[in-house]
Symmetry: C2
Subunit: 535 residues, 2 copies
């Protein structure tokens, strides 16, 4: 079955991803970020996402376990970023943050197009080296997006450092007949991919009928697009099987997403203007090259208008993020961008951002009051329940240690005290009268306070950033692998033991525990269910 | 008074930083990140930092308000990062995180040395373009440090994109006689900077007596070091007043730190092996170029040993971060690095990291139990106090909206509900019986719960990342400036009014309020003190 057919049928792989991705068979067909988690997502998840491919809001389930593989198109670095770029980055930054907040392990890739016709043209105008110019605007983009509180992606690949992967994918397409060489250029043969147009709801025949051939291009069909362009004198160029040249725009996203996320991943995002032809071309390239269906959910964000008109330089209503930051704080601009649903067009005007600014001020004012109330000498101030029960405040200890020339061993000791106390409380083994007198509500408040302390310490130490079940699962698998223990066997025994315990067959449960001990596996029962560890 | 003398006298500027930095006088002498905050740090701050310059643990006070300007040396990108780099990055990442946790606004700059002799040599060995090789290892470094949960710095400048600044600083040093040109190279004249050796506790005369001249170099004095090196054929080169060439290693940190942090900033960090000569040379360059004292607190982290021996390739005990990540999780390695104080040498051996790994497992296990207990049907589960009082849970509303195709306007409505409720509680205007029956402890618990919700929403939206007082202060100043209101006059009147209120002179207090209203300023009194806003 070819890729186009699979895509049409809504094919989902029954094989694990690393099987589809065929490790070792091609530099493109591998999944470097090994998935080790469970094969079911968080049960509470009720997230629905509008999928541009199906034009429906769908319940979102990751392809594998609770890991979400996500790619978003980044900017071409030939100038400062404008409001439209800002919106695209903020939209997918919120998607990234929310997925993580809901306990998913997100692998987020966002590229920089750092070589391109526009870059070469601009560099020529400025008398600057094209690669130096684009490197400069990568940094400018980082600065602007940083001012909008956009988090870095996990991986931010650039075209110029991924030539091998790009060339390998183009070569695959030439080899399997989906692309052809013409005078040192390589073109994708759109006619060979019947599903072309699926994402944007266009039909290949209509598209072919309506298209014109540019005189300068040596294409078989007007819709065919360049995968590789032969270099003109003085342009930056890379060696390839088709001579010195550089990639066309579209191929980079296919090659880089496949490198880091595999041949089939969960979410691909970008601005609505990228849906056709850029994303359509990505699908055509990737499906034809890897045989996998590429992307499960396509997300597109709407335009930015300015005073109800399309933003454009000729209308004189064109704003860079840098411009707007002179007038407003980054958070005000960000808040404004969140006031409209991501798929709708957003209308930028001073009044709207002023309003957002006032809202952000109000938030901060509330935070200030809250901090003051909870910290200051105030009739509402409650004593820390933790301190009441344990006679110590681990967060104070922690700060005392860190205040002393960043004494992290002391800080870790405070963490250890906190953990010991929390586990005592969870096991209801605390001996103090204060604990014994507490009702369940107050005990839960104490645990919430402790959770807050753990988060604070984790934030400073840069630890505990994973969802606990995911981390522990992965650790169990790794430590089992180290000792040559078969995880499937252990899991099967654990399930059998769970069944025995449900049936109150304690003898069988104990026998399984013994059997597991013989394998080097320790079982721990608890109110939160049974867990296993490698000795 | 010259820079060396100022440094010796522990001179602190009485002028604001932008005065010292002489905007417009030189591309190096400016402070692009305008400081707008208060001129005193948080009063609760009791942080003490060991300053390599004074060899003492000192109480830390930022040079200006609560903004901390911090620079840390990054890696030279010619190979994968090793454990020593990992420690340096983790150490200053924790410093960065802790300062932010304690409410400072940190501006953190960490460079990449992406052109250098080592890079050129390695590229020649590999038959690779030097700039492509170093770009590749920048990404590898980002990946490794990301696996150790090291946050990106606010600004991560590279040498190749800061040639103008570097050349300008070298030119300044040539022009003011602190450097000289020799056959297309430029050298720093160490003899002209009598304080040379101050940081590392060496004396210039001893150093000069002990040094040898390399035959290949055209220096006046053996200690003189290259600021600019003429290019050999085939090497990457940039135009300069001294011909085509590239910078010496040391000048980049002076030029890039000054560009982003100004001529005098708070903290400069790096490994102990960088103290001499790299940091000594930075001081000599910067003080001589800007006339400002450069850095207030120098921090140096200790070596990494492996099995009690110095890590080195010849001893066969050399480990890259990539190597270690094959065996251990990033968080285990990070935890291990925190178990030793940053200034002490740390001894890496498998057992130590295994121990750290077990501690991290224990932390996660505790977190898992805590999450389970606080979420699940459990005798300890307490009802949300917020829900009890307000009959709604804004976090549930928030998730409901975001689950619906990332409906941020709905999420913002949940935030608005939360804020309204919090302010009602802070003003004690809540009408429900549940609130009226609550004692101060329970009310504080409710507010803590609300603070947690605010933080969660802020985290997802990417908002409220600033310390509230700092943000509000800045906003007041900006909005006053927009309307041409004199902030100093307003602050003076606010102080006068505070004094009047202390003396119970209500007539005077009201008169001042009227006067402020005439200026377009609104005064708000509250339990948390009086604040002012521009109309």
């Amino acid at each position: 079955m070819d890729a186009a057919k699979k895509l049409q049928d809504g094919w989902r792989p029954s094989l694990p991803l690393h099987e589809i991705a065929k490790p070792g068979k091609s530099p493109l067909w591998y999944v470097p970020l090994e998935y080790e988690g469970k094969d079911t997502g968080p049960e509470y998840m009720t997230l629905r996402i509008h999928n541009s491919l199906t034009r429906e809001k769908e319940i979102f389930t990751p392809l594998q376990g609770n890991r979400v593989r996500m790619y978003a198109c980044g900017v071409t670095t030939y100038d400062l970023c404008h409001l439209g770029h800002g919106r695209m980055y903020v939209v997918f930054d919120v998607v990234h943050r929310y997925l993580e907040y809901r306990g998913y392990e997100v692998v987020f890739v966002r590229n920089y197009t750092d070589i391109d016709d526009k870059i070469i043209t601009r560099a020529r105008e400025k008398g600057e080296d094209p690669l130096a110019l684009s490197a400069r605007f990568v940094e400018e983009c980082r600065a602007d997006m940083g001012a909008l509180n956009v988090l870095p992606a996990d991986i931010e690949p650039k075209v110029t450092t991924h030539m091998d992967e790009i060339i390998a994918m183009v070569k695959t397409l030439v080899d399997n007949g989906h692309a052809y060489v013409s005078n040192g250029d390589v073109y994708y043969n759109v006619r060979k991919f019947p599903e072309y147009g699926k994402l944007s709801g266009r039909h290949l025949d209509d598209l072919l009928a309506g298209a014109r051939v540019e005189v300068s291009e040596q294409k078989n069909d007007p819709l065919d697009f360049a995968l590789w362009k032969t270099a003109k004198p003085g342009e930056p160029a890379w060696d390839s099987p088709w001579g010195k040249g550089r990639p066309g725009w579209h191929i980079e996203c296919s090659a880089m997403s496949t490198k880091y996320l595999g041949g089939y991943f969960d979410i691909h995002g970008g601005g609505i203007d990228l849906q056709f032809p850029h994303h359509e071309n990505e699908i055509a390239q990737s499906c034809a090259a890897t045989g996998a269906p590429f992307v499960r959910v396509w997300m597109h964000n709407g335009h930015v208008n300015v005073n109800h008109e399309k933003m454009s330089k000729s209308l004189g209503n064109f704003f860079t993020i840098r411009d707007i930051l002179k007038e407003f704080t980054g958070e005000s601009i960000r808040y404004f961008m969140l006031t409209t649903h991501y798929r709708s067009p957003i209308n930028f005007h001073d009044g709207a951002v002023r309003e957002a600014e006032a809202r952000v001020d109000y938030c901060y004012e509330t935070l200030r009051r809250l901090n003051h109330r909870l910290a200051g000498a105030d009739p509402l101030k409650g004593q820390s329940r933790f301190e009441l029960v344990f006679g110590q405040n681990p967060l104070d200890e922690f700060c005392e240690a860190m205040d002393d020339d960043f004494n992290t061993p002391g800080g870790l000791a405070a963490l250890a005290n906190l953990l010991r106390a929390v586990n005592e409380a969870l096991d209801n083994k605390v001996k103090t009268p204060a604990w014994k007198q507490m009702n369940p509500d107050a005990r839960a408040d104490l645990l919430r306070e402790a959770l807050g302390m753990l988060r604070d310490m984790g934030q400073v130490f840069g630890l505990f950033t994973h969802e606990p079940n995911t981390y522990l699962d992965q650790r169990r698998k790794t430590s089992a692998a180290r000792k040559g223990i078969d995880v499937n066997q252990v899991e099967a025994l654990m399930n059998e033991r769970l069944e025995a315990r449900r049936n109150k067959d304690w003898a069988r449960s104990d026998a399984i525990r013994e059997q597991l001990a013989g394998l080097g596996v320790i079982v721990k029962d608890g109110a939160e269910g049974a867990a296993w560890w490698v000795e």
